[in-house]
């Protein structure tokens, strides 16, 4: 299958150019057409920066220093503004974490969705009214014609996020990027919004990249998963394989600290320590200080292990095989 999004060896840094802080180091990640990829990691791991920098949305002072981001055949690194504008909202729809903050408080939500349509299809905003109603219906907003006239503060969190999703879908993009789309919502609404996201992506055959720290969400909607730690991907693969048999100790830790849904299996082992902050990453394996199975070799950068069609960045399989030899 063809890749909708293909990120190759992406390096991102921020801050003073003379004394930069590296945020992302050498991330490679691809999203196939029609597949949903979950990008998992703790805050500060660089998962959001990876996606936002790829789309040129990371904000001032955040720079891509190396690598390539190809979206449906268009190279985005170094692309000019008109190209980026065509891509943003046209080829990629983006959903952000906090739906209240993500909507302009002074504009009716219908107008905001219409603006997304108008920016790519031209015409007047009013001409896109039917499209707006259609989109709102699609994301399960009841009484869409009336809701379109509401201001963001008049809607509940769930409704706002549906509006944000409708806005991302405005121009039928081939890829949806969603940054923690359910985190800011009440628990009871999370499932509903997740359902909307699943319908808009998986069920419609639309590719998606979902950034989250919630492994449960990944298990529910994603086909593939990539785990980030300290600016690097430490493990990636199909959700089935990674969840069944995680290779990287960090992934193992994440999965173990997840409260199991089945009763009786309440094994909740929290990982000790906290992830290191950008700028203070250890030289070797960044996870080594927290790793229960760290060995001497972990003070040097670990190689990528691609045995058995899997992908993980850890010394361990090699170390063990070396130990087996000696």
């Amino acid at each position: 299958m063809t890749d909708v999004l293909s990120i190759e060896d992406l390096w991102v840094e921020a801050g003073d150019p003379r004394d930069p802080v590296t945020l992302v180091r050498g991330v490679s990640l691809s999203v196939e057409a029609g597949s949903v990829v979950g990008l998992v990691g703790e805050s500060g791991s660089g998962k959001t920066v990876t996606c936002m920098a790829s789309l040129g949305l990371a904000g001032r002072g955040v720079r891509i220093t190396r690598g390539s981001v190809r979206l449906g055949g268009t190279e985005l690194v170094g692309a000019d503004e008109p190209t980026m504008r065509r891509v943003r909202g046209g080829v990629v729809g983006t959903v952000f974490q906090d739906p209240l903050g993500a909507l302009n408080p002074l504009q009716r939500v219908g107008d905001q969705i219409a603006e997304a349509v108008q920016l790519h299809r031209g015409g007047r905003r009013r001409a896109h009214r039917d499209r707006v109603v259609h989109l709102l219906t699609q994301v399960g907003v009841p009484d869409p014609a009336r809701r379109a006239r509401a201001y963001p503060h008049e809607l509940s969190g769930g409704m706002r996020q549906r509006v944000a999703i409708a806005m991302a879908l405005a121009n039928d993009p081939s890829l949806v990027v969603a940054d923690e789309p359910t985190t800011a919502l009440d628990v009871t609404v999370q499932a509903q919004v997740l359902d909307v996201i699943r319908r808009a992506t998986k069920d419609d055959g639309r590719a998606a990249l979902i950034i989250t720290h919630d492994l449960g969400l990944v298990a529910e909607v994603a086909d593939r998963v990539a785990v980030m730690y300290a600016g690097q991907i430490v493990e990636k693969g199909s959700v089935a394989e990674v969840f069944a048999a995680p290779r990287h100790p960090y992934t193992q830790g994440l999965l173990a600290s997840r409260p199991a849904l089945e009763p009786g299996r309440r094994r909740l082992s929290a990982m000790g320590g906290r992830p290191p902050l950008p700028g203070s990453w250890p030289v070797g394996c960044a996870f080594a200080p927290r790793c229960p199975v760290a060995v001497e070799a972990c003070t040097t950068p670990p190689p990528v292990d691609q045995s058995d069609g899997r992908w993980s960045r850890c010394w361990h399989p090699q170390v063990e095989s070396m130990e087996g030899v000696s």
Partner: protein
């Protein structure tokens, strides 16, 4: 929240509503108005007692050369021979009827003589506010978004504009444009040309304040997610600025300008006198010099009402601009 299907969150409904209190609460507009009316009353009361208590107003009014019959005549004429309290009650009654007495000099009703020059001051205030918005907003955008050099330059200009009092700037303008270049009339009122320098003198400060306010709002708003959303929709940075960032800065700027108007009126008094611009400020100062107390009282009253009206209009304006203040608070 479980009410999600209704689409209206309880917090959103409560956000704009009045907090629970024992007493029924007036709307914010009414509260503002009531407060200002009370101030106005307080101010006039103060004025009343100051005049009555600081010696003999009749003697002040009549001047040093007055005979004792003249003094007596003025006293009875003004009701000064009555007890203070009944004078005060009569004074309040007069105020309710908008009767401030007659100008001691022209004999014309004091309120009329003040209202006659109100339009001139109104025009000056309007041109100043318009200037402060039309010049202040672009300057604010430059302050927040321009390159280093331009930003430094604008910032320096704004610092200067904030530090130069209107009368100093006014004198400078007269020196350059009237005395040396002869482009503009130094004095007078009634023609558009006479408005130029007073407006600049008054507006400089307001421009700087507006610019700083806009810049601060833009910088603060830079991290707002809705701006990133707009970029994510494919909007250009120009569109994001003018359609999303600036409109969101406006409610704060509008409120600031309303507050500004009271400073503006202070400045207008000085500027009107300096440019011999025939407005309320000049009328007030002339009346003070002439000890024409009825006109002083009327001028203070009219300025007070003016401030109240501006505050009410400003509140209404902010409500129009920002839907969060009206809708959804029912």
């Amino acid at each position: 929240m479980s009410t999600d299907v209704t689409g209206v969150s309880p917090t959103a409904a409560a956000a704009g509503g009045a907090p629970a209190r024992r007493r029924p609460r007036l709307g914010p507009v009414a509260t503002t108005a009531l407060r200002l009316v009370l101030t106005l009353l307080g101010l006039l009361t103060l004025l009343f007692f100051l005049v009555r208590l600081s010696g003999d107003p009749a003697a002040v009014l009549a001047g040093p050369s007055a005979t004792s019959e003249q003094l007596e005549e003025i006293r009875t004429g003004l009701g000064l021979d009555e007890p203070l309290l009944s004078q005060y009650v009569a004074f309040l009654g007069d105020m309710l009827r908008l009767d401030f007495g007659e100008s001691v000099f022209t004999g014309e009703p004091a309120l009329d003589s003040v209202l006659a020059v109100l339009p001139a001051t109104l025009i000056l205030v309007v041109t100043t506010v318009v200037t402060s918005v039309v010049v202040g907003i672009p300057c604010g955008v430059l302050l927040a978004r321009a390159g280093r050099v331009a930003r430094r330059g604008v910032s320096f200009a704004m610092t200067l504009a904030q530090a130069v009092p209107s009368f100093v700037l006014g004198v400078g303008l007269i020196f350059v444009f009237a005395v040396n270049l002869g482009w503009l009339p130094a004095f007078g009122s009634g023609t558009p040309a006479t408005l130029v320098m007073p407006t600049i003198a008054l507006a400089a400060f307001a421009v700087a304040r507006t610019a700083r306010m806009v810049a601060a709002e833009l910088e603060q708003g830079e991290d707002h997610d809705y701006l990133r959303t707009a970029y994510a929709k494919g909007a250009s940075s120009r569109r994001v600025l003018w359609r999303h960032a600036l409109p969101n800065a406006l409610p704060a700027v509008a409120s600031a300008i309303v507050v500004e108007v009271s400073y503006l009126l202070s400045g207008a008094v000085v500027v009107e006198v300096l440019f011999a611009y025939n407005g309320i400020g000049k009328r007030l100062v002339d009346a003070i010099f002439a000890r024409d107390y009825p006109v002083v009282q009327a001028a203070v009253f009219v300025i007070g009402v003016f401030v109240i009206v501006v505050n009410l209009i400003g509140d209404a304006l902010v409500r129009v601009i920002d839907p969060r203040t009206t809708r959804g608070s029912a």
